[in-house]
């Protein structure tokens, strides 16, 4: 995992770690959208990666 210093050096946003947000990791928030994403995965799948 990248350190915060590494992230900041790479010109991506400064992110402050806040352990109080841990509780949201396993909380089923935005579940309706996750269900829709799963439905798209089931019916459409992934696009073809022709370039990277």
């Amino acid at each position: 995992m990248k350190t915060i210093k590494e992230l900041n050096d790479k010109n991506i946003p400064i992110v402050r770690i806040d352990n109080s947000l841990e509780k949201y990791k396993n909380m089923p928030i935005f579940q309706e959208k996750v269900d829709k994403a799963n439905e798209v995965l089931r019916t459409v799948g992934l696009p073809k990666l022709t370039h990277k």
Partner: protein
């Protein structure tokens, strides 16, 4: 992206972020979450307002805090952070409503040249993914780091 954006807080794995929107309605705390799906490496991106008293998250509320562009830029910066850790991740996003999906499309369109340098961007239309093209009314978006 060096555009104005809010300071982000996150838990250690960078899957949940929080920031404060500031505008005429005052400070509104917003939560961004990259949720796992049934396919490993495929994440749903969603964000919404956090009710400070109950802690409930609402992704349907219209904040009208006059800073929608800065909010979107902040969400994009969270995508940069998340995909810096999960470099192979697919990130899927759609709006809660048609108008919100349209807002996302306008945001991607406006900064497409910059976003396209770092991400492959797809749009979902008629049940198929295609390379993102400006002016097309996609129903969802999918990005992956180049």
């Amino acid at each position: 992206m060096r555009l104005p954006r809010y300071e982000l807080k996150a838990e250690k794995s960078l899957m949940v972020f929080e920031f404060s929107s500031e505008g005429p309605k005052g400070q509104i705390t917003k939560l961004i979450k990259f949720s796992e799906t049934t396919l490993k490496g495929f994440y749903n991106l969603a964000f919404g307002d956090k009710h400070l008293e109950t802690g409930d998250i609402d992704d349907t509320v219209v904040s009208n805090n006059g800073d929608s562009e800065q909010v979107l830029t902040t969400v994009v910066s969270a995508v940069y952070s998340f995909t810096e850790v999960e470099k192979e991740a697919w990130v899927y996003a759609t709006g809660s409503t048609k108008s919100r999906t349209r807002l996302y499309r306008i945001g991607i369109t406006k900064y497409f040249e910059e976003v396209n340098k770092d991400f492959i961007v797809f749009g979902l239309i008629n049940g198929e993914w295609e390379d993102f093209t400006k002016e097309i009314e996609y129903t969802a978006f999918l990005v992956r780091r180049r």
